[in-house]
Symmetry: C2
DNA sequence: CGCGCGTACTGTATCGATCAAGACTTGATC
DNA sequence: GATCAAGTCTTGATCGATACAGTACGCGCG
């Protein structure tokens, strides 16, 4: 760094106080409570501070003493480099940022650990100078999540996992999934297949057995699959006959890969249920690649109603969930001291959005 | 918070030390330098810490004493809620995150102030507990930027502004812009128009006068326009005859708005140069809306080579710049103590990517 | 005059750790 | 048997501020 050696001691409150001839506390007040001292004196202090090149009270010291950081820590399951490409995560962060902007609160994105999908390591969580944590859709056995609990700071969880003492924001994933599956089955589809994002953070890609489904550590994944299963069974079909492809990462390219596997089956499924819009968009692209027309040859549904869902052609049938609101609500729960203390649990509404990517089987 | 009143004092290093019967420093070492003490003792300390529900040294105190935060502050001109929708910004953050992940460094996104485009307020910058700053494409007169300088922490600027003592990562915007303009003019276009993102943070939308162009506070915007101008003049045309539309925000919708204005002219331009890919994609969409075919009726070029550039139809002719690398390089400059100290200045290469959105005028 | 009260400022304790230097054991070496 | 080095642990100082209680003073009021 460009600290000219010895040119001058580090400028602190004390050094300014000495020069002006007042106490350290008064200088501190000049910054943090301007109403507590004479405007003229304050003016003089500020001028002296300027001359010394002082740039305000040291944030670390202030945080230590006051116990307040003005920052919330955000834990994402994915590496940040991936998270930014996931429209659901981005919308969530947008929502959080909206609240943060109002309150002047910063967002500390914790660095995920090396093994993908495990989220930030405990060390990063322990070392984070924050007032609270936002846990976004993480596996309950992630080490970072345990560290969050240990720190006993205000915490809000989005989607999963349920954490003792932490507020929760989510949706009824099972009901949402059921609704879109009912829609497809109602159109007359009998050979449906599923593309799902991961059930566990083990990097597995491929067909999902009932055992794996039952052992899923990502509960919203399981909930969505159960929703599909509810509808399938209600339609008089066997859930066990529905082929499920698990795919990581949750991306357009991933959706294409999984769809290629499913579309190679004979007989081919007439409908694909995807647990996210990006996977669904990938499935549509794979279908087109093989000369299939959506929805005539293949119906495809998504989940989320991400911004792109209405931009693709054909527009995607999906389950709309308020992605941005999730962030806003989570941010509020964390930052606004709600009157009735204690953890809250908020379920936001979902809505079936029927568009052009689904139709009756040919 | 759920601190059971009086049940126990806050757990500190000291309280553990007392219980185990060692000094505070030894407990500290148990956490930060395990090799400095007997494994058996360390084991005993850790067990006691666990029993007391201690969750590691207080990050604020540690930061104050050690002078190291493990966090870099990121300043973006746009509100975060918008920044996440800008592919260039997202790619940059991805790159930074990649480096951060390796080093275990967190990313603190500073909350922008209310007036759009001004970036984080000085207060947020002064209060940020960080080891350094990353300034991404900001106006030099933003108050947050001045505060960054005042804090005298290691700083890396991306794109703009040039800051004394700070490293710099960017591209040759002028040359890049010139290359794509030359490409279009070389195809024979004589009626070209320009869509540019903002020249100043004043929220202005509309035609750009030469005066406004000369007074631009966003220097990369000006550099790109100058690059276009170079090519136009070299082709024997008058730059003053080229209509320029300034558009905020830099988004697909914004590009559509600006293009509608330009396409309403008579005679219509046969080519549109956009200073970003999102604006260009918007222009293409507006053209299609009016029944025009790209590139037969209208050629469109972008800048950036964002991920979407190859996904749209027709694929976008653009100036490729290494968006991700910008983040990676900036992150490295900030986090890796480079041998030769002092500010570095790195210009990354650009490359003209000719695709399907440009062709000869009809 | 004495009391209460608000304004303006001071002084000391404290936040919770890390640092730098030193002291005490051991065991090995000459 | 003195010397030295390595390994382990302790002591006291310090990081840079804010919290809190208190002092000094001016002023209105009964």
């Amino acid at each position: 760094m460009a600290s000219r050696k010895g040119e001058e001691q580090r400028v602190t409150l004390q050094s300014i106080a000495d020069l002006v001839g007042v106490s350290r506390t008064t200088v501190s007040n000049a910054y943090s409570r301007p109403d507590q001292l004479n405007p003229k004196l304050r003016e003089r202090i500020m001028r002296t501070a300027d001359e010394l090149g002082y740039c305000g009270p040291d944030p670390a010291a202030r945080t230590l003493r006051s116990g307040h950081a003005g920052v919330v820590g955000v834990l994402l399951a994915e590496r940040l480099s991936y998270a930014f490409t996931d429209p659901a995560a981005v919308s969530f962060l947008q929502g959080v940022a909206q609240v943060g902007e109002r309150e002047g609160t910063g967002l500390l994105l914790l660095p995920p650990s090396a093994p993908d999908g495990a989220g930030p390591p405990a060390g990063a969580v322990r070392g984070a100078v924050v007032d609270g944590f936002l846990v976004y859709s993480m596996s309950s056995d992630a080490s970072g999540v345990k560290a969050v609990v240990a720190r006993r700071l205000p915490t809000v969880v989005v989607d999963e996992p349920r954490l003792p003492g932490a507020s929760f924001v989510g949706i009824d994933d099972r009901a949402g999934a059921r609704s879109v599956a009912e829609h497809l089955l109602g159109l007359g589809h009998e050979r449906v297949a599923v593309i799902t994002f991961r059930l566990a953070a083990d990097g597995y890609n491929g067909p999902v057995t009932p055992e794996r489904q039952a052992a899923a550590t990502f509960t919203i994944t399981r909930a969505r699959l159960e929703g599909y299963a509810d509808a399938v069974r209600a339609a008089g079909l066997r859930w066990e006959d529905v082929e499920i492809q698990e795919q990581t990462p949750n991306s357009v390219a991933g959706g294409m890969d999984a769809a290629r596997v499913l579309l190679a089956r004979n007989p081919r499924p007439t409908a694909i249920l995807a647990t996210s819009d990006v996977l669904a968009i990938g499935a549509m692209r794979a279908a087109r690649e093989q000369g299939l027309t959506v929805p005539d040859d293949l119906s495809v549904s998504g989940f989320d109603d991400a911004p792109d869902a209405t931009l693709v052609t054909p527009a995607l049938t999906t389950v709309r969930q308020p992605l941005l609101d999730k962030g806003v609500v989570a941010g509020r729960l964390l930052l606004d001291p709600s009157p009735g203390r204690g953890a809250e649990e908020i379920l936001l509404p979902t809505e079936l959005a029927v568009r052009a990517s689904t139709g009756p089987p040919s």
